[in-house]
Each structure stands twice: as structure tokens, then as C-alpha cells.
Symmetry: D3
Subunit: 308 residues, 6 copies
């Protein structure tokens, strides 16, 4: 007998689980795995990162001569794992809807999605190269493109995002979210996988950046730490439930720069080439080329900063 009342606690936890499942109208599934696994998605991301940048982010002892063999084998393994996780997500979604697709159909649908995702990998590599170049050119402390790829959290967050976004577009939203939350944990940068981001995107320092689900970001945009591209308010339907999926985050056009701590809320547009100063609070459109600071904002609007 343990000196701790294990049996009682086990029963107590079981009761709590049953309450939850009843409240969620979950049926007992017995012998089947229900949900994708964070651990496996983490392995998938690690493998895809190695396949995208084999010599720099792949295994320690990889040599250039072996790149293709490594990439082929790693992709094969990672895509199979991803297929398994995608099947679990689709089945989970079916269960919630009370639908009843066969496992074979689910697996085939998942395979089609993974195939679609996989063929985008070379394009993902190229756009990530543009992000690396943007960071190198935008940061006076950067000494080489390799330092940027190996060290910069903003680049790491973009590797995750550029993997997650196609998964999101393919309807694998849970897997996509697992991928971006991995980046969030490692970098403090929170980009929703639904956000659309053009090439040459650079986030300096990065910690505390938040980019919402429906944000749209153009080319060569630069963000500093603690910038928020958020929603202004959450509309509810007549029953008072949140309306999900509405466009509610900013549009940021090409070549915009947003300094640290700025907060942009709602479906506003920051016009091409605009510069947003540190700590400003914006809830209206900004014209192309404008330079907005707290002072300028107040002058232009005759109001105090942060009014909303």
C-alpha cells in the first residue's frame, strides 16, 4: 500500500473526467487514440526544418554529399507521421460533427492534404530565404546570413509559420496551431497560423509580437518586439455567441515598418510604405507612406493617445 491514497485520487480523477466527457457529450471510445499529439507534431516540425535547411538546421554530423539522401529519408518519415496526425485530426473533427466517414476515406483525404502540403516545400524554402535576407539586411548587428538562420528567433518563428499556414489552409487547423504554438513557446512570438504573410518578412527581437488569424501582411514588412496586430472587438451573433472566422485583424501593405510596442487593432489598412512609431495605438487606416507617431496621431486627430 502506498502512503498516498492513490486509489481515492484515481477514482476522483476518473469522476472528474467523466463529468467533463458528459458535459462535452463525448462517447467513450475505448481502444482508439483520439487526438493528434504535440510530441509527434514537434518531431514533424523538427524533421521538416532539417529537410528545408539540411546543413544548417539538420543533424550535427550531416555532410553536403549526403544532403539529398538525408532529405529524402527525412521527408518520407515526416510526411508519414504528418499523414497519421492529419487522419487523427480529420477523425476528431468528424466525431464532433457526428459524421461518419470511414477510416479509409479519412486516411485518403488526409493523404491528399499532406501531398498538397509537401509539394509546397520548395516554395516554402524560397520564401524563407527571402525572410533570412530581410533580417540580414535589416539588422546592423547581423554579421552573416548563417548567423541569422541559426540564431534569430524571428526566423525560427517564420519557419514554423510557413509550415503551419498551408496546413491551416488545407483545413488542418489543429495541427497548424500546434506548430505555431511551438514557435510561440520558443520565441515568445504568437502568429496565428491563419495569418497571411508575404516574403521578406522580418521581426527584430520578436518577443511579445501577436499577429491575429485574419491579418494580411505584404512584402518586405518589418516588425519590432511587442507589436500587436489584433482584433478590436469580437462580434457576437443574435444568441450572443462569438462569431468565428470574420475578417477582424489589420491589413499591412508592402514595405511597412512597425516599431516596438505598437498596437494595431481591427480590420484597418496600413498603406504601403507607412512607418508606425513605437507604442502607438492605431484603430484607423493609415495612408501609404505616412509616418505615424504618438505625437503625430494626436495632432492629426485632436485627441489623446490610446483613445478607442
Amino acid at each position: 500500500m502506498s502512503q498516498f491514497p492513490i486509489d481515492d485520487i484515481v477514482r476522483g480523477l476518473q469522476a472528474a473526467r467523466h463529468e467533463w466527457r458528459d458535459a462535452q457529450q463525448r462517447t467513450q471510445t475505448g481502444g482508439e487514440r483520439e487526438l493528434p499529439s504535440r510530441q509527434i507534431m514537434s518531431e514533424v516540425v523538427e524533421a521538416l526544418t532539417g529537410a528545408l535547411f539540411p546543413l544548417r538546421l539538420g543533424p550535427e554530423d550531416l555532410l553536403q554529399d549526403s544532403e539529398d539522401l538525408y532529405v529524402a529519408h527525412t521527408l518520407d518519415t515526416a510526411l508519414r507521421q504528418l499523414h497519421g496526425q492529419a487522419t487523427l485530426e480529420l477523425r476528431h473533427a468528424q466525431r464532433q460533427l457526428g459524421e461518419d466517414e470511414s477510416l479509409a476515406e479519412l486516411s485518403a483525404r488526409a493523404a491528399a492534404k499532406v501531398r498538397d502540403f509537401a509539394t509546397q516545400l520548395p516554395a516554402i524554402r524560397r520564401i524563407l530565404d527571402s525572410d533570412v535576407m530581410a533580417a540580414f539586411q535589416g539588422d546592423p548587428a547581423a554579421r552573416s546570413v548563417d548567423e541569422v538562420l541559426l540564431c534569430y528567433p524571428g526566423v525560427s518563428a517564420m519557419i514554423h509559420h510557413r509550415i503551419a499556414h498551408p496546413l491551416y489552409q488545407l483545413g488542418l487547423t489543429l495541427l497548424a496551431r500546434m506548430v505555431t504554438e511551438r514557435a510561440h513557446s520558443q520565441t515568445g512570438i504568437d502568429i496565428h497560423p491563419g495569418a497571411t504573410i508575404g516574403p521578406g518578412f522580418f521581426m527584430d527581437h520578436g518577443t511579445g509580437i501577436v499577429i491575429g488569424e485574419t491579418a494580411v501582411i505584404g512584402q518586405r514588412v518589418r516588425l519590432y518586439q511587442q507589436v500587436t496586430l489584433g482584433a478590436k472587438r469580437f462580434p457576437t451573433d443574435p444568441e450572443g455567441n462569438l462569431q468565428k472566422g470574420l475578417a477582424r485583424h489589420p491589413v499591412v501593405e508592402d514595405d511597412v515598418v512597425i516599431y516596438a510596442g505598437a498596437t494595431i487593432l481591427g480590420r484597418v489598412t496600413l498603406g504601403q510604405g507607412a512607418t508606425i512609431g513605437g507604442n502607438v495605438w492605431i484603430t484607423d487606416d493609415v495612408p501609404p507612406g505616412a509616418a505615424v507617431t504618438q505625437a503625430s496621431l494626436q495632432k492629426a486627430k485632436g485627441q489623446r493617445p490610446g483613445d478607442c
Copy 2:
């Protein structure tokens, strides 16, 4: 012979350690472990998380049929480890006080604390379920309660906090702090284990949130990123030493919402249902139901935002 002067460095480091120990009036203990281990506490948290949510956060290959067996064995192992760490913390505290309890007594005291903690686990599961529901209902991007539990950093931080807080209440403050700092590292959310937090608590995005030791938070409270519930000043005693343990952080009543970047300092009360706008700086009480923005603050008080 190494090409590096290992012996000299070892002696140098030894001298530095001895200086420190002399300054701290530490006696040499020789053959005994002195302090709890971050690594073991990390394993304990991982195991307890699995025991609380076996199918979703437990091992990859766990099936529903095996839940109880897994929970029982995992708890047994984790509680033993926790008992060992708790004994180390109690002994460490004794040494600092120069007291001299026997190891058997320390172990028995530690076991009683662990038993007390363990019996709270079903209640911890239930309150965490309320946090998950709050996040699902409060975030338009959330697609399922399972996505919330698997992905949301705010939920992960609360799992840590709701384990750490009872440990803190039982006087195991060092272990409690190890637990919350694990969450801090993973999520960028820094909740002191002493903080009291009611059910249905939701932190969106989360990065940069700081909640102090004596904060008291009611039910259904919602916080956004970079909110601080901090202390205004640190009172000192007549000798100029910091007074530790005084109530110095805010009280947040039920149903309050605090938007991103707001800073609430000192033992003030945010009344039930109040809404605190982004980036505001508050050092006074806010009445129930009030909606505070930077603009409203300035109007009400005839002063500029951020004065303090």
C-alpha cells in the same frame, strides 16, 4: 595534459565557491544532496499533467481503456518523487534556520504535505476544465476545447499554477516557484505561485503577463498579453530591509476583463465586471462595472495618462 589549464580553473572555481559559502555561512555538508532539483520537479509536473489529462496530455500511445492504470502508476511515481523533493526543501529550510529536526520527522512532515496536495488533484482537474471552457468561449479563433487544451499557452500556464499554488500554500514555496518558472519559460507568462485565482480564468496570447504574489483574482476573469498585476512600491522596515509577505498586489473581482498591456499596480481593487482598456496604467481602485480607457482615466482624473 589538457591543452587548457583545467587544474588552475578548477582551483579558481573552488575558491569562488568557498568565498560564497563563507559569505552565506554555509557549512560543508559533504555527502548529502542539499537542494531540490529543477529536473525532477519538471518530471513531476509532466507526470501530474498526464495524470490530470491522460488522453490528451499523457503518453502518445495511451488508450482510454488504460487510463486508470496509467493514472495510478503515474501518480504513485510522481508523488514519491514529490515527497523526496519536499523533504529536501524542508531540510534546506531547517538548515537556514539553524534548526535540527530529524530526517524522519522532516520526511513525515513532507509526506503529510504531499498527501494534502494529492487529494486536491480532482478539484484541480475540475477548475482547469473551467479554465479550458473559458478560453474556448472567449476566443473566436478557438475551434474546439481540445485545441484549447493542447495548444493554448494560457492553459498550460494555468496547469502549472494550479499545481503550484497548493504547494505554495503548504509552505513548499521553493518547489512551487520551480513549477511556475517552468511555465514562465515555456509561455512567457509569469504568475507567482502565491497568487489566488478563481475558476474560468483565461489569458489570451499571454506572453508578458505578470501576476504578483499577493494578487487575488475572482471568477471568469480575462486577461490579454502583457498585462501586469504588480506592486507599486516595496515597503522597507526601519533597518531598510524589504518587508516580505505584505499584501501589495491588486484584487481583481469576478468577470473583469483587462486588455493588452494594461498595468495595475498596488493593493487596489478592480470591481466586479469592470473593463480595463489596453495600455492603461492604474494605481487606484476601479468601481464595479466601470470601463476604463486611457481617455476615460484622464477625463475622470484631469490628468495625463501614466502619471504615477
Copy 3:
């Protein structure tokens, strides 16, 4: 045959890599490792941390009697690894410059740097002890110096920085950056390895702190979360390229305290003993002993907060 078009993707990724290498004017190196490894640098930091604080941050089962043997063996292993990584960095730098030093010369240069670094370790330990004391004395929630060392993210970030800074000074800037980005990921604190920081430095909570490459910080300075010591603007040379390496970050003199969210930009000086209030935005010198708040700033300057 895989159900995914592995061969096509491998060829696509290969083409993308070749484009990049052509654009970067990289020659094919075939059978040689090109770059240092994050994984190995992470092991080096872990080992050095254990060698600096063997009983508290070393292996779980280490006893005081075995400290010196552990430290000696651990240093021997870690310094060899560091030597290997330093040689890789020097060779990588040579390649970028198109120079052609022999491997033996590179290795000897790397060894000299590692030796120089290694002899600083006892001094590093002593200055870290001063940081621990500063945290203990500055935080009313701290219960013991051991809690501070084991739990505080600010201390963890300083262990990384005080290892990284001498590497940076020795010209191993890539390795140095790998070390500090490890801390950034774990703590949300982003200190560039070039920053100069005096003893007794304390960062409370820490998340979101950014300290730039040329910042200079005196003794007994205290910072709260989300403080930025940044650059105001990035000067370009006549061709429009960023000028790298210029002194462009603040000088913070002894005994300064900077509260949460304050932003100090450019090569300004915060005079000895100054206090900077929360959320203020400073781009000019602050005299010794001054207490700056948003309100005081506005009065002194006759301008609105955050103007810049």
C-alpha cells in the same frame, strides 16, 4: 514507392538550395561540416553552468565531496567541444572573407581564444554571485539565494550572458549569439552578447527585456520586464547600407532602476542613481539621481508622452 512524391520534392528542395548558394556565392564544400551547431553549443552552456554551480545546477546526484572531480572532467569535455565549435566559426569567417588559413592555424587560434575564455570562469562565477545577491535583496518575494539561483529567469539569462560576452569579445560572435538566443528562448530576455553589464545586475520578471549590442550598464542596476535599451535609428553609409558596429545604445550608470515597459533609445546616458518610471519613452540623457515618470517628462519638456 511512397504515396508522396518524395523524389520531386527532393529535387525541388535541391534546386532551391542551389539558388541560395549561388546567390550567396557559396562554393560546394562536399565532405566538410560548415557551421557550428546549436545543439553542441547548448551542451556546452549546460556543462559550463554545471561547472560554475555544481551542486545547485549540476547533475541531480552530485555530492559535495565530488565537486572538483566533476568540475574538472566537465570542463575538459566542454572546453574541447567549445574548441571544435570555435574552429568551425573561424573557418566559416575565413571562407566568407575568401582567406585561406590552414586548419592547423585556425585550430590554434581557436584554442587560444578558448583558453582565454576558460581562465575567466572563476571571475564569471564571482560576478554571477553578485547578480544572485542583487536579486535576493531586490525582490520581496525571494525567500533564499538558492531559490533565486534555481528559479529566477533573470539569473538564468545572466549566466548565459556572462558566458557569451567574453566569447563575443574574443571575436566568436556567432557562438556568443547562439548562447544568448538560448537564454532568449528560455526566458524571453534578449540581451545582445555585445552588451557590457556590471556586477549586481537584476532583472525582475524579465520577459520582453531587450538590451542592444553597444549598451553599457554599470553596477547594481535593476530592470523590470519589457524594458528596452535600444537604438534610435540605424545610420547608413553613402551606399545606403546599414553601418554596423557603431555605438548606438544607451549608457546606464550605477544604481539606476528602470521600471516595466520603459523604452530608452539611442546613445543616451542615464546618470547614476536615476529612476526611470514605468512605460516612459526616453531619447535624451537623464541626469544623475533624477526620477523620470511620464508626468515629469511631459512637464519638463512641455510635450505629450511618447513624442519622438
Copy 4:
């Protein structure tokens, strides 16, 4: 490009595999695992051994108070793994026969077999206890029953056999063979899982012992190293194929002792209490109580030793 002609070798190995599969009339199965895994069966045996003798052969840090929880969880995991392996074996057998049972039927059949096996575990533990006692009582060098269980290869081989034999009886002959070959590799003792062995069986030293598929051994039998209980000849059917499954190995009655190097061949019976001397070669029945040495054999038969 690798410096080794990987592609050519891969094609060469592929061709060799296809030849083999053609010769074996194997169809390509594509995406399904075909065969049980030695690695997993090794884990199953390790787990069952721990479940049978938790404190002595289970995990290093197990305590008596936790035995049952450990046993329950370990069995649950191991029996699931065994179920998976059993299903693979049954499907493999089906394929070879060209039969076409559904996966669900195969899985149900496998589950029934594993259930049958599992309920025999307490009896397996008891008969193994009798083997341990026999070793302790039969070896003057044995100092305790615990030394026997922890150290004696003969006991280790019997743990494997007593797990393998019921699997063999249930028709899981491939899994059974994997188990006994694990013992063979570790101990040099080669017992076919089909052999029937009574309680109190002791093999001293053990290396080189061979016991054939249809051997039948009574209670309290003792064998020394390099004893063979083998087949005399292998009958073939009219087409010249080996006839499989015939009773062709010795019957050894209760209380027989067989000294080192003795060879007993064919379906002969060693009568109760017989003693067989070292290195003798026996192909005929031995009456109960007889003591057979090379000398006695020769006298009794008027022939030279080893004639056959």
C-alpha cells in the same frame, strides 16, 4: 554526391529483395507492417519479467508499497504490445496460407490468445519459484535464493521458456521462438519453446544445453552444461521433405540428473530417478533408477562408447 555508389547499391539490393520475394511468392504489401518485431518482443519479455518479480527484476527504484500499481500498469502495457505482435503473427500466417480473415477477426483471435496467456501468469510465477528453489538446493555455491534469481543463467532461461511455452501452445510459435532465442543469446541455453518441462527444473552453468521441440521433462530434473536432448534423425515424407512436428526428442522422467556433455537422442525415455554420467551418448531407453556412465554403457552393451 556521396563518395560511395549508394544508388547502385540500393538498386542492387532492391533487385536481390525482389528475387527473394518472387521466389517466396510474396506479394507486395506496400504500406503495412508484415512481421512481428524482435525489439518489441524483447520489451514484452522485459516487462513480463518485471511483473513476475517486481522487486528483484523490476525497475531499480521500485519499492514494495508500489508493487501492485507497477505490476498493473506494466501488464497493461505489455499485454497490449503482445496483442499487437500476436495479430501480426496471425496475419502473417494467414498470408502464407493464402487465407483471408478480416483484421478485426485476427485481432479478436489474437486477443483471446493473449488473455489465455495472461491468466497463466500467476501459475508461471509459482513454477518459476520452484525452479529457483531447485537451483538453490542443488548448487553448493548458491548463497541465497535471491542470488539464484538475480544471477543464474539457468533461471533466466527458464523465465523465458515459461513465458514462451504457453505462447507456443496457443499457436503463436513465431513469438514463442523470439522469446526463447532471446534467452539463447543471453545464456547459451537453447530450449525450443515446444518442450514440456515440469517444476523444480535446474540447469547448472547451462552454456551449450540444447532441448528439442518435442522433449518432455518431469519434475525436479537437473541438467548440467552442454547436455543435448536432441533428435536422432529427421524422417522425410515420400517426396523427401522433412516431416515436421513428429515426437522425436527424449522423455525425461521425474528426478533424473544428467551430467555435463551427455547427449540423449531420439524418442527414448530416461526412467524416474536415473542418473546419466558426463559425456555419455544415449539412444536407447534407460530404466528408472539406473546410473549410466560411459563405462557402464559399454559393459552392458558390449560395445564401444558413442556407437550409433
Copy 5:
């Protein structure tokens, strides 16, 4: 609920354990580890082997410059582990005797034994060097002394024996047996740790060699595979119990060679320089310098081979 009757089996196994413990008159110990661990002893042997031959049998990446640091740290760790295991063996022995020494006394006694053992390590290394030389000089297939040390199972068995024998002499017979059974499993060579073996001992091929507890072997002796130095019979006391500890195995004097498969039984002496032919069976003394074959034996004794 598992599909297997886990609870019933757990209860059945529990009942079987209780029967055994009752039969063995074991008291329930609850929360204490009872017995040494094979796993830990295996780690101890691995570590000591590395400490004895650091560059050849130590870690893959060890370099000559680091030998002493590696040896010191490895010994420190291994001897502590051995001390823990020795304490467990002494306590286990106490329990069986019903004695009641304090844990502190047991630990001190164990430490003294480990200290005694440890100081013998340099001598153990030297005698092992003589064994390596003997193998190199005695085997025409040996190409270098390094091949012998790295590859020959006879040398591996002697490393184990020369570690185990002093443990046996110090009364740690269970630990000693764990060590030699590790060799037995790896090499098929079964040397009881009690056997006394002089320098320059060589076993060619080795599989199936058995050397009993009270055997005494001189210098420069050579054995081939499947040689037995065994006991002739096991004397019992008046109650019929085996008498343990009597000298019952052969004495083999210097420079004796024994060919494959020879069996020497009982407390007989093989005189200096004798040669024993393959497969002979000896139960009487052999004079110095004699060459014994099956033929010679039969002539000398007028009897058939193998009579006994």
C-alpha cells in the same frame, strides 16, 4: 476497462508473491529497496573497465590528454555506486541472519570494503596486461595486442573476473556473482568469482568454459573452449544438506595447457607444465610435465575413456 483481466492477474501475482515471502519467512519491508541491482552493477563494471583501459575501452571520443580527468571522475562515480550496492548486499545479508546492524555501521563497513577494492585497481590493470600478452603470444591469429583487448572474449571474461574476485574475497559475493554472470552472458565463459587465477591466463575461443568456485590456477595457464574445471560430487552433511564452501575443484599449476572439451573434476592437481588433450576426462592427479590424451589415459589405466 482493459480487454485483459488485469486486476485478476495482479491479485494472482500478489498472492504468489505472498506465498513465496511467507515460505522464505520474509517480512514486509514497505518502503525500502532490498537488493542490489544488476543494472547498476553493469554500469559499475562498464565504468571500471573504462577506468582501467581508458583509450581502448573507454568512451569513443576520449583523447589521451584527458585520460586522468576521465579516470578520476569515472572512478568517483563508479565507486560511489559500488558503495551503495555493497551496502545493500550487507543489509540483505543481515536480514537473512536476523541481525540488526545500523545503517550507518553497514555503510561504513561497505565503504571500507570498496576502499580496499579500489586500491587494488592498479594491480588489476597490470595482471590484465599480462593476460593480454598471453593471448597475443598464444594465438597465431592475433595481429596486435590491441586486437586482443578489443575483441577477445577470453580477455573480456578476465576483466570481469579480476574485478569480481576481490569483491568475492571481501565478502561481497552477490555483487561478485553479478559481475561474473555478466561475462558469462556476453562470452559463454562461466568463471565463479571465487576461483583463484594467476597472471598470464589465456582462454582461446572460450565458449563453454566452466571454472568452479574453489579452483586454483597458476601462472601462464592456457585453456581452450568447453574445458570444465568442476566438482566431482557434492558432499552432504548428516541431514542431507549440501555442504557449501569445501575445496572441491582442481588445482592447475603453472604453464599447464588444457585443450578443448577436456573435463577435470574434483580436488585433483594438474602438475606444472602438464598438457591435457582434447575431450579427456580426468578425475585424478596429473604429474608435472605429463601429456595426457584419451589414448594415454587408457593405456596407463587399462580402462576405457570416460570411466568414472
Copy 6:
């Protein structure tokens, strides 16, 4: 200070090493690895085994669709490792000869050998298939060719031998020996890598089989446990040193069967189709087709068994 005299023991072991190195006339090499590693060669064998039989002996979760990708990547990795080990062996041999080839030349020679070895792999697979078929056809207990490949120690030993033999032929005798001793440890079968063995070779049970360096074995030969194909005597040169490399082991022609325990010594020939009975001792040629038993030997020669 440790409670064990670590420093003294380290010095003692150091002195013993220096004695050995002086006696072996080894120069101090300081910072370079001297010898191949058993651990790495074990990994190489494991990888090659997987590449030869990917679905049956490769990783647990490999599927048929991924075979070629797995094989390619595994070979690439394993052949690089083998190249590194081969370079170490060649350098070690150079040092012993006092020769002075450059590292680049050694590496190139090693690469050529590995390339030669690698191109033999498809042929190795085919001949191993013939061994598997021989075992299946020769053992009435075998139920399928897969059982044979997965379970039979004789097959495992041949996988090792058929990898080791070409290495031996290429002059990598130390690596070859490491490979075969791995098999020896796992199976108790000791085949020198120099032995030449034709296709369709089957060893039943296997434990204790010894096959010497210069043995030559034809096609479809079958051996049972404890058969020795050894040398009769070891000729010495005029100085009394062993003459290494002479043909001194048996030639076994096609279709010979040798039963358990038979010992064949010296450069004798067993003619095609001969059958050698159990336990016989042969030192002369046997004509084709002959059936030799102990009785027949004695009759034919008028002498007692085992005379030699």
C-alpha cells in the same frame, strides 16, 4: 574530498598505463583517437543488417513503400562511419609498422576499401538468402523462412560473417574481428572472419561452434552445435615464435554434414557429401561420401576413439 583515495588510484593507474605503453614502445599521441571503436562498429553492423533486410531486420515502423529511401540513407550513414573506422585501423597499422603515410592517403585507401566492400552488398544479400533457405529446409522445427531470419542464431552469425569476411579480405582485419566477435557474444558461435564459407550454410543451435581462420567450407554444408574446425598444432619459427597465417584448418567440401560435438583438427579434407557423426575426433582426411562415427573410425583404424 571523496571518501575513496581517488587521486592515489588515478596515479596508480596512470603508472600502470605508462609501463604498458613503454613495454609496447607506444609514443604518446596526445590529442588523437588511436583505435577503432567497438560501439561504432556495432552500429555499422546494425545499420548494414537493416539495409540488407529492411522490412524484417530494419526499424520497427518501416513500411515497404519506404524501403529504398531507408536503405539509401542508412547505407550512406553506415558507409561513412565504416570509412572513419577503416581509416583508424589503417593508421593504427601504420603506427605499428613505424610507417608514415599522410592522413589524406590513409583516408583515400580506406575509402577505396569501403567502396569495394559496399559494392558486394547485393551479393551478400543473395548468399544470405541461400543460408536462410538452407536453414528452413534443414530444420523440421522451422515453420517459415521469416522465423528463420528473425530467430535463428546461426543465421545471425552468418550475417555477421558475410559482412566481416570481405572486410578481412580487404585487410581490415581488426574491424572484421570486431564484427565476428559481436556475433560470438550474441550467439556463442565463433567464426574467424578469415574462414571461407560457401552458400547454403546452416548451423543448427550453433552454441559452441568454432571455425578457424583458414578453414574452407563448400556449398550446402550443415553443422550442429559444438563442432570445432580447428588447428592441430601451431608451428613455430626457429626463434620459437608462432608462425601466423599458415593454412592450418580443415577443408570441408560440398554437402558435408557434421553432427554435434565433432572435432576436426588440422588441414584435413572432408570429402564431398561426407557425414561426420556426433562427438567424433578427426585429424585425417575423410573420403567423399563417407559416413564417419566413433565406431566406424575405430574399426577402420583399429584404435580407440580420440587417439591423436
